[in-house]
């Protein structure tokens, strides 16, 4: 088991390295591909009406003239040992871990990015709890009584759920609950440690609109998985030996039907933690997703690069955790 964990961690680290290299290459090559010169690129890092001297300084300091692998090496070095940028009125220091330095508003990317993480985590975890509970319960009940009224009704709702974009359901919820009947108006993020009740009150609409989409998806997946598992031979065996139906369903059926769902959950949660871009935009939540959208709108490359790497990090870590959990419950995984 220990060897397996070490192996998986190294694989995840290697994956992150590859992802970061590709991300880096794309963000540094793409503008060139679109026909921008090093001078124009450097100008983007400064702000309005840059002087030629400032452009030359940025170009030299950021090494835009150097080959790609040298630039990537400098970036990696910055992650572990920080970086110094000597130009402009005051020299800028980028502390460890240096995910980049935004020359547009003279801020380090890492602290600014991490300050947004609590919002995104609150949003993602709350929605995840909601959709796991409602989605899996609905899927199981539907699968146990296929073609019943409950099954048809809930699968109908689920089909509508996967066909509705979050930016439409979110806007509808806002119209109804913040405007027509203002029971949930004046929504803004309140930290959990400050006031847990206000935290939940102000996040309930984003949770619901996000969880509606995902629980629809998970209900459909759980139902399909349960229908397949419950027709397996070992379920018949379990019933034949006189096991209580509840135990047959939960311990024998659900347990194996959930396996693929856990994989998908790892991916979904990882993606959301890297910024629920659309939900945050609809509800004006100042999370990682909003940070990314603002960075992209400002054309602030260091921020975009930093936030993309953070998102990739969350995806890789969530997948790693899922893999390790599998190995813990299923010996076949760690021995293969």
């Amino acid at each position: 088991m220990f060897a397996y964990i070490i192996r998986r961690i190294f694989a995840a680290a290697a994956l992150l390295l590859v992802v970061s290299a590709v991300t880096f290459a794309i963000f540094f090559l793409l503008p060139r591909f679109a026909g921008e010169t090093a001078d124009q690129l450097a100008a983007q890092y400064i702000g309005k009406n840059p002087s030629p001297e400032a452009i030359a300084a940025v170009k030299k300091n950021l090494g835009f003239e150097q080959p790609l692998y040298t630039q990537y090496w400098h970036f990696l070095k910055g992650l572990v040992s920080g970086a110094e940028y000597k130009f402009g009125p005051e020299p800028a220091t980028c502390h460890v871990p240096c995910f980049g330095y935004s020359f547009k508003n003279h801020l380090e990317v890492w602290p600014e990015m991490t300050s947004r993480i609590p919002v995104t985590i609150s949003l993602a975890i709350g929605a995840a709890v909601l959709w796991l509970v409602s989605g899996i319960t609905t899927g199981v009940i539907s699968a146990l009584k296929p073609r019943s009224v409950f099954d048809r009704l809930s699968m109908g709702v689920a089909l509508a759920g996967v066909s509705l974009p979050v930016f439409f359901t979110g806007a509808l919820l806002l119209t109804v609950f913040s405007y027509e009947w203002p029971i949930l108006d004046n929504l803004h993020y309140v930290d959990f440690t400050e006031d847990p009740l206000m935290w939940a009150r102000n996040l309930i609409l984003p949770w619901i609109s996000l969880a509606f989409l995902y629980s629809a998806l998970y209900a459909r997946l759980t139902r399909a998985g349960m229908l397949e598992t419950m027709s397996e031979d070992y379920i018949r065996t379990a019933r034949a030996k006189g096991l209580v139906e509840r135990k047959v369903v939960v311990k024998h059926g659900l347990r194996s039907a959930l396996t693929p769902i856990v994989t998908i959950f790892g991916m979904d949660l990882g993606l959301l933690l890297g910024g629920a871009l659309i939900t945050e935009q609809v509800f004006s939540l100042n999370g990682v997703g909003q940070f990314a959208v603002q960075a992209i709108n400002d054309n602030d490359l260091p921020k975009v690069l930093g936030v993309t790497l953070l998102a990739a990090f969350f995806i890789v870590v969530c997948n790693l955790v899922v893999d390790l959990l599998y190995a813990l419950v299923d010996p076949r995984v760690r021995l293969s």
Binding site: A34, P165, F168, A171, G275, A292
Partner: protein
Amino acid sequence: MTAPMTTAGNAPEAPASPSPAKTIEGRSLGRIAWTRFKRDKAAVAGGIVVILLILLALLAGPLESLFGLDPDQPNTDLLDADLGGLPLGDWGGMSADHPLGIDPLQGRDLLARVVDGSWVSLLVAFGATVLSNTLGTVLGVMAGYYGGWVDTVISRLMDVFLAFPLLLFAIAISASLQGGAFGLHGLPLHIMVLIFVIGFFNWPYMGRIVRGQTLSLREREFVHAARSLGARGPFILFKELLPNLVGPILVYSTLLIPTNILFEAGLSFLGVGIQPPQSSWGGMLADAKNYYQVDPQYMVVPGLAIFITVLAFNLLGDGLRDALDPKSN
């Protein structure tokens, strides 16, 4: 089910009908699937709506000129200047001339704008689906058939692609290519960029499905038979394996189109997809976000357009899956 079906299921390449002397009529896999599909009312309804939508998208231009609808024609006389340019009258300015109402600030006809947004939405979704599923099928079938280092390289590549934050990447790339690339500008550029961005990062999903199916297909007798007759790699891949993968590819493509429609709408909603003056459903919703308190009608029109389109494709895809895959029932 019936005996001919089982034979057809096991050897889909068998001739569609056996010798004419027999009284039992042989049915091809496609025929059986079609009979099963016809019985599914929801799927048929979805299919009809999809066909209508494709016709609408193809004929958007002629239809607009036929009915005198112009998606860019402002109607400032129908707006209430005192209320900051909200449509006059109830229900977002609905009238005989403008059956779905008009948008605030400019008073453009919403029906015309929704119709005009349909072809962009479908074009991007179809283009992206074709791109990602072609990539996924070719790489997946190669990984599954050749195995060894080919499989290792392609599978690792899938892992890397799946670790990318897709939406974030799509936004960043479309934003940085907004100014002009590939020698294109304006609307053609935006459509190309969207197709590329959505299609290029989605292929591993198809790749995994095709690889899994190929792994089990390549051990089947007809592949061994082809090989013993002297057939080589490419022939087996494209003439023997691929025809047997048409079912899953068709089903998955139909189910990927609605996902891509939502994706395109999401990008346009965030302001990095289709740019004004071209109308797009996502863009209209982003615009409506500023008015949902005073003019909810504006938001409902493009929202329902997306909902109906995506729902129809999902119904069709579910129906096709049930029809082509007997196990799922």
